[in-house]
Symmetry: C2
Subunit: 118 residues, 2 copies
């Protein structure tokens, strides 16, 4: 029953569960590459804990790490998120349906008000 695509989605969603990991991804989205120590700075957790989060992100294929001398630079690799988004996208029609209903309701109310004004 479980296939590769499922396993990749498992890893992607699991990586996205933690707010610290999401904050790291959000920062890498704004900056093109950051050192591990720079990434760790805003968090109240210790460096080894940040390293563990980076391991999870790396295992999910969401970041790359490259080392030059003693500096490890972390970069975003958002491709796995595309698959996660494609998975979510099929539910979008439900939101648009609710929006359509809302728009229909608003239009109905407006037409009613117009009738009363006549």
């Amino acid at each position: 029953m479980v296939n590769y695509r499922d396993e990749r989605l498992d890893r992607t969603f699991a990586a996205l569960v933690d707010p610290t990991r999401r904050a790291i991804l959000a920062r890498l989205e704004r900056e093109d590459g950051a050192s591990v120590s720079a990434l760790a700075r805003p968090f109240a957790i210790k460096l080894p804990a940040v390293m563990k989060h980076l391991d999870v992100l790396d295992d999910a294929g969401l970041i790359t790490r490259s080392k030059v001398g003693r500096i490890v630079t972390v970069r975003l690799r958002p491709e796995p998120m595309q698959e996660a988004m494609d998975w979510l996208r099929r539910y979008e029609r439900f939101w648009s349906k609710s929006l359509d209903r809302l728009a229909g309701y608003a239009e109905g109310k407006e037409a009613e008000a117009r009738k009363k004004r006549r």
Copy 2:
């Protein structure tokens, strides 16, 4: 540091980690409501295990359960996924960037080939 929106996203992504839970949501996307026993049928796991998955989906606000007599009907409530998708959407520009690069490369190759033919 943690706020309500973060907590909701935690719960949504955590609910989506499991392939059985994703399969349940996918089925509810196709059918408008299904009984618990009908939902459990395709899976190799026992009913109590399915019930636990439904609890996780319910806690994340992704399904509703209503009971009439002895039949519990499960329905999709996909709204929390919208927030998850909005979160993922900001990374979309990275994929379009890679697609642009790919398109640029293909166009370059084509132009080269045209020049040679002349």
